[in-house]
């Protein structure tokens, strides 16, 4: 059946494509924004068949993308002064955009200890195929360097896992990176690997011996899936995934432990276990990242400003984030007199905001739906029947129920029936690594 899609001109000169959406709770696990030339898409990762909503903010630049994603008729209708319904083209570009949305959602939410570098590379290649301009993520010299090094490792070690898929990823990147700038120093390695790819296609691949894999060290062991979380103790609370540096993810529920000490001097002790590192894929080099800067505030839901603030630091073992927040006599009295306290952990650059139990509960609901989605994707692909994904969706439904009945019902439906987008390479690597070394 041919579907129609609504094109709605906005009063401010933008144009909406698809149903109205505010990014509110109708997407139980949140949405991903995919910025393309002149148009930004909104992808609900729980709904593989949904047509992404789009906001066109520059008609001239968006035409190519809109035509590729929604069809020529939608493109023509962008000039309309009234809302119109047009037949939706059945176009593969849309599937690619939806898959990119899923990758960006995984990068942002990190519900599982997936190899983030692999998520990043696959997203970058998808994105470059859709972005079609100089703002594409393959403009980044770091990514080009990583891709080139990945290709080199794959070329020299034929036994690496997912080798064919990763070669395919590099081959796709090789067709997308600007060829007019290969004399740039930062692109020399990439151009070399592109040339090697062409040679291999003609003459066949080389390979090294198993002994060359000794650099696969103990750090590359598989890690267990994150704790599903259990609220069983006082003075515990959860991390809001979207407010902390990505280095603190994945995080289970109730992983933040805090203790108020009357003193002297009065203070709050905070400890948060650092996440288990993802198993890095051996083909992908690691780039040095700046150390994450994390702050924590003691929060009372009856008080508008923090009761205490301090930076957190990673202990010398690298396994626990700790911090001590100083309290004054006044703030100690407020803290001990408050029945509803927790800790707001956030990136240093993220400012304080009003304490809102409602928002904290909705964020928790979104996290449980995200866990449900992430686990169900692996479960469905591997044929496992642990029921963890279904439990997560059902718990998300309970948390959503007071705020959005429709979203709660959607979570219940996802617990039993779902259409999944194809697995990403990082998810496949996660499965393979865990199956290989339980």
């Amino acid at each position: 059946m041919k579907l129609n899609i609504r094109i709605t001109p906005g009063a401010d000169g933008t144009v909406g494509i698809g149903g109205p959406t505010t990014g509110g709770p109708e997407a139980p696990a949140g949405v991903a924004l995919v910025g393309l030339r002149g148009v930004t898409l909104m992808v609900d990762p729980t709904d593989a068949k949904a047509v992404p909503h789009a906001t066109v903010f520059d008609l001239d630049q968006a035409r190519l993308s809109v035509e590729a994603l929604y069809g020529a008729l939608a493109c023509e209708a962008l000039e309309s002064r009234e809302p119109v319904d047009v037949p939706l083209g059945d176009l593969p570009g849309r599937d690619s955009a939806t898959q990119l949305g899923l990758l960006l959602w995984l990068a942002e939410n990190r519900p599982l200890p997936l190899d983030s570098a692999l998520v990043d590379l696959e997203a970058a290649v998808h994105w470059a195929g859709l972005a079609d301009d100089d703002e594409g993520p393959l403009e980044s010299s770091d990514r080009l360097t990583t891709l080139a090094e990945m290709a080199r490792r794959l070329r020299e070690t034929s036994t690496l896992p997912l080798a064919d898929e990763l070669r395919g990823l590099f081959a796709r990147a090789a067709t997308l990176v600007d060829r007019g700038r290969e004399d740039d120093s930062e692109r020399v390695a990439f151009a070399h690997e592109r040339a090697m790819l062409q040679v291999e296609r003609r003459y066949g691949a080389s390979s090294l011996q198993e002994a060359d894999l000794t650099w696969l060290d103990a750090h590359m062991r598989p890690t267990p899936a994150p704790a599903m979380g259990a609220c069983d103790a006082q003075r515990r609370c959860s991390i809001n995934w979207l407010r902390v540096p990505s280095a603190l993810l994945p995080a289970g529920e109730d992983t933040v432990r805090f203790e108020i000490v009357a003193g002297p001097p009065p203070r709050v002790h905070i400890t948060i276990p650092a996440p288990e590192p993802a198993r890095p894929h051996p083909a992908i080099p690691r780039l040095e990242q700046p150390p994450p800067r994390v702050v924590a505030s003691l929060r009372s839901y009856a008080w508008p400003v923090p009761l205490a603030d301090a930076a957190l630091s990673l202990d010398t073992s690298g396994r626990v984030w700790t911090g001590t927040l100083p309290l004054s006599t006044e703030t100690l009295a407020l803290a001990t007199g408050s029945a509803d306290l927790d800790v707001d952990v956030r990136a240093e650059r993220v400012p304080w905001t009003s304490p809102s139990r409602r928002r904290v509960r909705m964020d928790a609901a979104q996290r449980w739906a995200a866990r449900g989605l992430a686990l169900s994707r692996l479960q469905d692909a591997s044929g496992a029947t642990s029921g963890a994904a279904e439990d997560a969706f059902r718990y998300a439904a309970r948390l959503w129920a007071p705020y959005s009945r429709a979203t709660a019902e959607r979570c219940l439906a996802l617990a039993t029936t779902r259409d999944q987008l194809p697995l990403t390479l990082a998810e496949r690597w996660f499965l393979a690594a865990n199956q290989a070394q339980p």
């Binding site: 910025g35 393309l36 909104m42 593969p92 570009g93 100089d134 007019g180 700038r181 400003v305």
Partner: protein, 475 residues
């Protein structure tokens, strides 16, 4: 991996054993894939992108699109060979010098266009195309960082002494979130985590010079698209030009562009109107007119930007981000991203056009930030993957400078807000005054609280409103 037009043409060429005389990837993309897409368009009115995975329905059409392609590809390869020979003849005659790597893509784009239009490519056409390729080649290649240092250090020292110090002190980049209040290096001596638009005014002079040679900087169709006068910037020594420009306020040579940047930063410095805003950019930008430069900031432009921000928070894209992160949480990053992205647009405009940007060039830049660039980079910003280098890695702006360099991250309203909150956290009795509505008492005690540095904090009214707003947001 799903097949694409590119992969299918590649496979076909390998099956045929066809080795193009130009770069294979150029031949694939600009000739093979282009011909296939043209056939697709003609038959179906629309065509998948060359690199987009094909659907099952499309794969069915692939056979039709690839029919007779081998002969077309072979003919196109012969045309490329003819043009290469003509180029060599021109070079041998002393008409010009050229590099194979530069000519390949240019030859392929021209041959691809001709084959798609059905034109006959005979010897005369090959001669004409060769001349056209020669004319399109860049006349200049960038010099190396070492050469740049050797030839331009002295000029930079002189120019900075004459103007740079005054520019940084008179127009501190940190005040508009453009960078640290320091002197940029001549070449980048310290490896920065990310070398892109996020460098802002911290960008080394050599990296500014390199922008002239970026492939993407040579097409500027998006900037000021409806301006009547698009005369090109005059040709000059690009290195000297960048040395001089780096010493100007905000590292921009045009007074108009300095005002645009400052106005943008001003427009994004305050709290968005909680009731929303409304801005029809098309109306605002028409007629396309010059930006007023009699003041440091153009009020009209700043108000337009503030209104766009106020409207954005209720727009689907803005609403998603506000729902996920909170509006206040986003403002510092948004201003930071907007100013630096726009700096790139303005610098590109100066490299390309003689006339400064006019009003019709503004909307695209602002919208691109709000709807695309910002959503794309917010996570990197929050994670600290993009940011300013440590000030100690940059140079003192003035010979006798003793002031600590300003930091771009926490300036403006958000910085004052943050410092005020720190004070209030330590003084709960003052928060109680707001809860009790004791305005007079609040004014008196707040003045004492910030007496040491009143300009670094919110005013008494702003701080009172802030606490009230935080109380309002509690539930």
């Amino acid at each position: 991996v799903a097949p694409t037009i590119l992969s299918q043409v590649d496979e076909l060429m390998r099956g045929l054993g066809l080795e193009p005389c130009v770069k294979r990837s150029d031949f694939l993309e600009h000739i093979g894939a282009r011909i296939v897409r043209a056939r697709w368009l003609e038959a179906r009115g629309t065509a998948p992108k060359a690199s987009t995975p094909l659907s099952h329905a499309d794969e069915g059409f692939l056979d039709v699109a690839l029919r007779d392609l081998p002969s077309a590809l072979a003919a196109a390869n012969e045309s490329c060979r003819g043009i290469l020979a003509a180029l060599e003849a021109l070079a041998a005659g002393g008409a010009t010098t050229w590099q194979w790597t530069q000519a390949s893509e240019r030859i392929c784009t021209r041959v691809g266009a001709l084959f798609c239009s059905g034109a006959v490519v005979d010897a005369a056409a090959e001669q004409a195309l060769a001349a056209d390729v020669i004319a399109s080649l860049p006349t200049e290649q960038p010099i190396s960082p070492d050469e740049f240092c050797l030839h331009y250090r002295e000029a930079y020292e002189r120019a900075w002494a004459a103007k740079g110090c005054a520019s940084v002190t008179g127009h501190p980049p940190s005040a508009i979130a453009l960078g640290v209040d320091r002197r940029p290096h001549l070449v980048d001596v310290v490896r920065v985590p990310v070398s892109n638009w996020s460098l802002g005014s911290n960008r080394a002079v050599y990296l500014r010079y390199r922008l002239h040679f970026k492939a993407s900087s040579r097409s500027i169709s998006s900037c000021c698209p409806r301006c009547a006068d698009r005369a090109s910037a005059p040709e000059s020594d690009k290195a000297l030009l960048e040395v001089a420009r780096a010493c100007e306020p905000y590292g921009l040579g045009s007074r108009t562009h300095q005002v645009v940047l400052r106005s943008l930063a001003d427009g994004l410095a305050g709290q968005p109107d909680p009731h929303g805003g409304w801005l029809d950019w098309a109306t605002w930008a028409t007629p396309c007119r010059p930006i007023a430069t009699d003041r440091e900031s153009d009020e009209d432009l700043a108000e337009a930007v503030a209104s766009a921000l106020s409207a954005w928070q209720f727009h689907p894209v803005g609403a998603v981000l506000v729902r996920q992160f909170g509006l206040v949480e986003l403002l510092v990053a948004l201003r930071w991203v907007a100013v630096r992205r726009t700096w790139m647009d303005l610098h590109r405009h100066e490299r390309t056009f003689a006339e400064p940007l006019r009003t019709c060039g503004i909307p695209l830049s602002v919208r691109n930030t709000l709807f695309r660039a910002f959503p794309n980079v917010y996570r990197e910003w929050r994670d600290g993957l993009i940011g300013d280098p440590p000030p100690e890695n940059l140079l003192d702006p003035c010979p006798t400078s003793s002031a600590a360099p300003g930091s771009a991250a926490l300036e403006g309203f958000i910085g004052r807000r943050s410092r005020t909150l720190t004070k209030l956290t330590a003084n709960p009795s003052m928060v109680k005054q707001v809860i009790d509505g004791s305005v007079e008492l609040w004014r008196a005690s707040y003045a004492g609280l910030v007496a040491n540095a009143p300009d670094d904090h919110l005013t008494a009214e702003e701080a009172f409103d802030l606490v009230e707003a935080l109380i309002e947001g509690m539930d």
